[in-house]
Amino acid sequence: MSDTAAHPREDDPEGSEEPATGADDGAPGADPDETPAAGTVATGAESVVAALEAAGAETAFGVQGGAIMPVYDALYSSSIDHVTMAHEQGAVHAADAYGVVSGEPGVCLATSGPGATNLVTGIADADMDSDSMLALTGQVPTEFVGNDAFQETDTIGVTRPITKHNYFASGADTVGDTVGEAFELSRAGRPGPTLVDLPKDVTQGETDETPGPATPPAGTDPDPNADTDAVESAARAIEEAERPLCLFGGGVIKAEASDAARTFARTYGIPVTTTMPGIGSFPEDDDLCLSWAGMHGTGYANMAITHTDCLIAVGTRFDDRLTGGIDTFAPEAEVVHVDIDPAEISKNVHADHPLIGDAERVLDQLTAAVREAPDAGAWRERCAEWKETYPLTYATPEDEPLKPQFVVEAFDEATDDDAIVTTGVGQHQMWASQFWTYTEPRTWVSSHGLGTMGYGVPAAVGARVAADAMGESDRDVVCFDGDGSFLMTMQELSVAVREDLDVTIAVLNNEYIGMVRQWQDAFYEGRHMASDYTWMPEFDKLAEAFGALGLRVDDYDEVAPAVEEALDYDGPAVIDFHVDPEENVLPMVPSGGANGKFATAEDQL
């Protein structure tokens, strides 16, 4: 904790005064202007809230409960908007999505025990996707910790492997600084979730210590610039490449490097593919763009990534869903790997040119260091041919039910480029990423690394709240959900109705856990064990019962009117699209397979 190393030793008479003076230097000057209410804390809980306010947090998502009550009581008179969610999992996903859309760490709160454990899925989700987020959990009073008290869970132990760092608040005087540090740490360097566990005696404890200006802990905010020698050698490799390819990952978006990425690729005429979290970093309607690569990525992206001789990978951790079998991943490419986290360098794919730094800064460095564009005209033509040969298409025979891809396209056409898409996990998520043309960062909000079914609805709540807080209430928020995913978190619809949030939820309902059904057909001889729901509630009627607009669509000619009605409706709307239950997500690279051998039909799997 921050107080272990920095605090003066007791046997040093001078030392005990100096840090206090130092802290006061900053605090009185800054407080009256920025946080007028923060000057007068009386309890640990008020110090927690003051720290959040000082960090710039405007919104928090959470669920009340015994051990967190003091913090909620302090929120009563705070400028922070609190959105009460139906379930803690909703709170954590909403906070995550809020962070993705706003670029600021989302904040979620839960009580001890079940409240904290209900956050776990969402914290793990944020950890896998490197999303900045702060979770605050109540805890039983310190003297009960370890005694199996009512609603006690070892939250620190449970969340240790799924947080960037977590803190057990040790006293009312320091808890504000701890919360401030945790907030800053979550967005320093490679972002990730942090957690502060707040024993009730700490939040109830008296203190007059107003938290000082928060900074991330020493050593966690790395140098944004890459080593110049490494940049030069990477630049030479790029110049000499015949088949160069950019691979932009989620790190490009997190580092606000989309402009730098666009400049780099366009300046040197280098084709671009993205990862799934990197969707939106480069406009998919640009001639250079090959959309995203990986298991269900486009055929042309996977062909390009297979044949490139110089892969410029920025802000990606080479997840197995991207690489397929590592032996056949970009097997002839010199790899330039830009990442802020040194541990990602050569973790999965060896980096010939490791560039450790902030994506934006390093892309600017590369743009400056490359002296002439690689001679890649023939390569660009080849990429264009692949686009012609392997387009993303689907058939729409009259004797088959409504195709889910058509629904995604209808929404894309009916909305502006700045519309935000959230999803659950499964087939619908893949269609939403394949058949929507993304052009802007922070418009694609999904659960990638962890693959959390149920992410979509609470994420839509968080995304809507973020857009509204940013003064962008005219942006559409569309959640594509599967019937299975929707059933997992649909209770958060109650929040959307209560808070009057303008979101549209499109359930692509095939009455299956569709991706599992697809795998069972491909790899388990069609044995539909526990994937066929056989029956689903009537989601349109359920939506009406919640107080939302509920619509049902079965046929092509009903799609456009329903989409229009739902988008026009000022409040939450749910459309239950009954789509073809037999439709598969294609193309597909089988798990561990070669990207270049993607299947475009089920019988190729």
């Binding site: 272990t4 062909m303 686009k387 298409t393 009916a414 009117p561 051998k597």
Partner: protein, 238 residues
Amino acid sequence: MSGDSPDSRPATDGGSASGGVPEPDSRPAPGEQPGPEERDHPEGRRNLEGIRIDPVVEAEHESRRAVISALVEDEPGVLARVSGLVSRRQFNIESLTVGPTTVDGHSRITMVVEETDPGIDQIEKQMAKLKPVISVGEVSGNAVTAELVLLKIEADDPAAVHAVTEMYDGRTLDAGPRTITVQLTGDEARIDDALDAFRQFGIIEIARTGQTALARGDVPTAPGEKPGTAGEPTTHDS
């Protein structure tokens, strides 16, 4: 819109929002596109560590033994963070020791691992990301290493046990009618030799601390570590 982009939007371009059944798509449907084996495939390959290789030669890294020393903040949970990291990422670890340093509030964790070079690199980098880890690195090959072992031995022939104990510079900590407890220290090879020698008497119980290590001479044991005395912060430039 349908003509302006080489992009993949299919049948519905320009038509879906206005309603109705989609037009048939003239471009190759997924099933009609060249199959997986009908495409060009490069010859190159990567090994399990993601390194480009000549597929004929197939070079894999050999694993080796390495001593890793980390200087850490002595705060609650730091050992759990390190050991959790090791188990979660499936690093092969032989021993882990932890103890205080010359500086209040700092501890040293010494790990002996058996890993490939990329694996050792990953251990160091992942450990460096833990907030309480101040600095971490491999202790160079000629480091001073030692381990302490307690042995409880059958006391059928006390004189012979005593002789072996003397031979390996051990100490007898306890001698009873049926058992003798001996303490041994030294590097791993010496300890292993001693255990072989004691085995003839019958070893009842054994307790080993695991290897701990310091770099020789002026070389800091953890990177950037500077010798401190109690009360001074250890400086580091990690």
